[in-house]
């Protein structure tokens, strides 16, 4: 087995986490196994042709890495046969287990817990949207001069930047809402 880690980049939005799982599982089939989440959408892989894993992503809030609660969380998943691989921040956690033909192991196996999962994602996106809205408004008040004297150099690009951010977050919220609705009777 080669110990050198191979870096790959891919930008995947959090509402597309299933696509990321798919990507990791496809690479694992080819012998590239995800080891570590890096900054700026980079991921690190180890090559080993002799194994194949099924990867799953989990999203949890309110448990900082290294805390007792986090340890309890990882222990429970490990007890259930999932190897803890890596985390992205304190929110996204990567687990894997050896691939078995004909099996598609899931972390969430009922509607209720999946809805809660999507709502956790939604809540964080909602908080980010609100926080940025407040930030934008305070910026606009504090940097009034930019909007009068340097409107095109600073004011307009700043607004465009914020609008893009709101659009992305808003789209994410809407996608999650659709998922939740699809699960409700």
């Amino acid at each position: 087995m080669d110990d050198k880690l191979i870096k790959r980049r891919r930008l995947i939005m959090s509402w597309n986490y299933e696509k990321e799982e798919q990507w990791l599982n496809d690479l694992s089939r080819e012998g590239l196994h995800f080891k570590k989440a890096g900054k700026f959408s980079s991921s690190f892989f180890a090559r080993d042709e002799s194994v194949r894993y099924t990867y799953r992503l989990d999203y949890q809030t309110g448990q900082a890495r290294g805390s007792a609660k986090f340890q309890e969380y990882v222990d429970l998943y490990q007890g259930a046969g999932w190897e803890y691989v890596s985390s992205y921040g304190s929110l996204w956690h990567y687990f894997r287990r050896e691939w078995q033909p004909g099996e598609e192991p899931q972390l969430y196996t009922d509607r209720e817990s999946l809805i809660q999962f999507y709502k956790r994602l939604q809540r964080v996106m909602g908080i980010m949207l609100l926080a940025n809205l407040v930030l934008m408004l305070t910026n606009m008040i504090n940097l009034r001069s930019f909007f009068t004297d340097r409107l095109w150099a600073v004011g307009v690009p700043l607004i465009v930047l914020y609008l893009c951010l709101f659009a992305v977050l808003g789209y994410g919220l809407w996608r999650m809402q659709k998922k939740v609705k699809g699960l409700k009777l």
């Binding site: 969380y73 429970l76 007890g79 259930a80 046969g81 969430y108 196996t109 809660q116």
Partner: protein
């Protein structure tokens, strides 16, 4: 207490398994699969979410891990409240079953 009903299958099985004896997460998963003849499989995420909810509502509690066993495997036990909830659920299910059976036999006449 009534607002907990109906229980989801996962909640129901977790409480039923713990009703007999305290267990750890993996034990709950295995026992659920066994009791349901392989039909109900509780995923790790679903179990973790459910255990946290049940702990929060006081239907289950942490249970001391026995000496000499893996200390990382946290144990859970049902509380008095938990027992009451699962007993109420069994009564509710019995009623549903009885009404359903009656209707079916009437129709088959």
């Amino acid at each position: 207490m009534k607002e907990m009903l109906p229980l989801t299958e996962a909640f129901y099985y977790i409480l039923i398994v713990l009703y007999t004896e305290p267990s750890h997460g993996y034990g709950i998963m295995q026992e659920t699969e066994k009791k349901s003849g392989g039909r109900v499989k509780i995923g790790a995420g679903t179990l973790y979410t459910a255990l946290n909810t049940l702990l929060g509502k006081g239907l289950i509690d942490h249970y001391p891990v026995p000496e000499g066993t893996d200390q990382r495997r946290k144990m859970y036990a049902i509380t008095e409240n938990g027992k009451q909830v699962v007993e109420a659920e069994v009564t509710r299910l019995e009623e549903l079953l009885q009404v359903g059976r009656q209707a079916l036999t009437q129709m088959k006449g």
